[in-house]
């Protein structure tokens, strides 16, 4: 029973964390709305938030990576490949973003001369990344719906405490 409640608490934490991650991601997606400074600082804030997201799913990553070459359901295998692509494109997005930074890094005293290669790479990965995120969310849509349902059930059930 304690194990189930721990799993529920973990799921609740991950669900709330993921909502925060999505909100932050949308905020970073629209530099023309937020301005370049907010875009860059929010992107830097996105790094630790994403790292915690990945670390909280560490067990799944290790388990599936270990079994990747053996028998795995197709959906799980696809999820893993998608996650690897997401991670790689995120790393490139952040790297190229840092190398064309005109607000955050200069504010920290690091002067950068934007290179056309990194600008074009940043634009390309910025186009690819939201689509991959959309697919990632869709792949976990059942879990998202289950979390929303369980939260609603928990709110409707009167507390015994």
């Amino acid at each position: 029973m304690a194990g189930a409640s721990t799993a529920n608490a973990s799921d609740r934490f991950r669900f709330l964390w993921d909502i925060g991650l999505l909100v932050l991601f949308v905020l970073t997606c629209v530099p023309s709305v937020t301005g370049i400074a907010v875009h860059e600082w929010a992107s830097l804030a996105f790094i630790p938030v994403l790292l915690i997201h990945l670390a909280s799913n560490w067990d799944w990553i290790v388990r599936v990576s270990a079994r990747f070459l053996s028998r795995l359901p197709g959906e799980t295998r696809f999820n893993h490949v998608l996650d690897v692509l997401l991670f790689a494109s995120f790393a490139l997005l952040m790297l190229s973003g840092l190398l064309v930074s005109i607000s955050a890094l200069p504010a920290l005293g690091i002067g950068i001369t934007p290179d056309p290669f990194w600008t074009s790479l940043h634009n390309t990965t910025a186009n690819v990344f939201p689509s991959l995120i959309g697919i990632h969310i869709a792949m976990h849509f059942r879990w998202v719906v289950a979390q929303m349902r369980s939260r609603r059930t928990a709110e409707e059930t009167p507390s015994t405490a």
Binding site: V26, I36, L51, A55, P73, F87, M94, P114, N127, A138
Partner: protein, 114 residues
């Protein structure tokens, strides 16, 4: 503590991936680009970081699939439209298509593999 240690490991992996990509840009690529474009123009004295912020790609206008349709002068309406573009077109369409494919695949195979 365990989560932080794992997060640090992931950060190291990301940094390693980024570091592996670094040689692609910088001097080697810039050299090829310079060869293609000819010698660089001398920057005007006023060409500072402040002026650089006014460059369209630096403002993030090219970020997005359909950003070239965007009016050059930003307005609140265009910014709202941009927000909807990101949400619906860039994330929503792939998500919708994935849900469709998943739904079709699960209808063929009602019981998921254990």
């Amino acid at each position: 503590m365990k989560t932080l240690r794992r997060a640090f490991l992931i950060l190291v992996a990301g940094c390693a991936l980024g570091a592996a990509m670094l040689p692609l840009g910088g001097s080697a690529w810039a050299g090829r680009e310079r060869d293609r474009r000819g010698p660089p123009r001398r920057a005007a004295p006023a060409d500072t970081v402040e002026q650089g912020t006014r460059r369209p790609q630096m403002q993030g206008r090219r970020i997005g699939l359909f950003s070239h349709f965007r009016a050059p002068s930003p307005s609140r309406l265009a910014d709202t439209y941009r927000l909807i573009q990101v949400g619906v077109i860039q994330m929503g369409v792939p998500a919708g298509l994935t849900l469709l494919v998943l739904g079709l695949a699960r209808r063929k195979r009602p019981r998921a593999a254990p």
